[in-house]
Symmetry: C2
Subunit: 160 residues, 2 copies
């Protein structure tokens, strides 16, 4: 299991791996990783933090790549719908996926102090949500699992 966001690591690798994975997936599925989409993904890959659409838009603007909200939202829709980026409902914000390109059911740990977000792979079948749904006869199409709190580093600081 990867849980890089809260640990020191070679972050340049995260960026290039994310871009490469997206490029490959797009090539294989006849999808267009256009300049705007690619740039939005890069922006999100540049830190393990969730960014709001307007934060991203600001950076796009600085790059001369689009200045109106729909530009950012459309790129984000594309990236989210193909699994390159996840939306964090709790924050109305977005993070780059950190699990290569395969479909998955992620859970997120959101540090309220340093704002980093880490993605944990979960087994949807064994979750409480799935069990509750089964008991109720409910057909799940999408789930949101997000925990807010303190990452190891920030928890330690706050105890000190």
């Amino acid at each position: 299991m990867q849980m890089k966001a809260f640990d020191a690591h070679d972050h340049d690798g995260c960026i290039s791996a994310g871009i490469v994975a997206a490029e490959r997936h797009c090539a294989e599925h006849a999808l267009q990783l256009t300049p705007v989409r690619r740039r939005v993904l890069e922006i999100l890959l540049s830190e393990h933090k969730a960014l709001g659409a307007y934060d991203i838009l600001e950076q796009l603007r600085a790059d001369g790549l689009g200045s109106q909200p729909p530009v950012a939202y459309r790129a984000l829709d594309f990236l989210v719908s193909h699994g390159f980026v996840h939306r964090i409902e709790r924050l109305n914000a977005f993070v780059a996926c950190s699990h290569g390109e395969n479909a998955h059911t992620p859970a997120f740990l959101i540090c309220r102090a340093c704002k980093r977000v880490t993605e944990a792979e979960t087994d949807p079948a064994t979750s409480e949500l799935a069990r509750a749904a089964q008991r109720a006869g409910f057909v799940i199409e999408r789930t949101v699992r997000e925990a807010e709190g303190l990452c190891p580093g920030c928890a330690e600081v706050s105890r000190a």
Copy 2:
């Protein structure tokens, strides 16, 4: 486990039980269940659906109980912070709690067709989120667990 929202039931009982539980809790804890707060709780108890703050505000306005957004948001903040109401992050909306007054870690099943929301009690300790947090050394303060899909009734209709 209660999972009333998707089943036929004596709904008047839900409303009065919700109000009574809130009244009692407020009396015991020296909290004020003011007319606006009480009315917002009633509005939310009147259906097992999530309502946006502005939907609620509209009803308050009709009742002459307040017409500006902060009125609704303040009442909702109060009700949420004392556990009488839950916020559904996925919908930016609110539902009345259906589990009496004790603190709990609910999960929600949201039907995208009929819009009803049901609350399932979960054991936070055994959840995927808790396991992931434990592995990472993350201290959870709050969790969001929401599943979107089709309730039993709407799933059947869509299969027909």
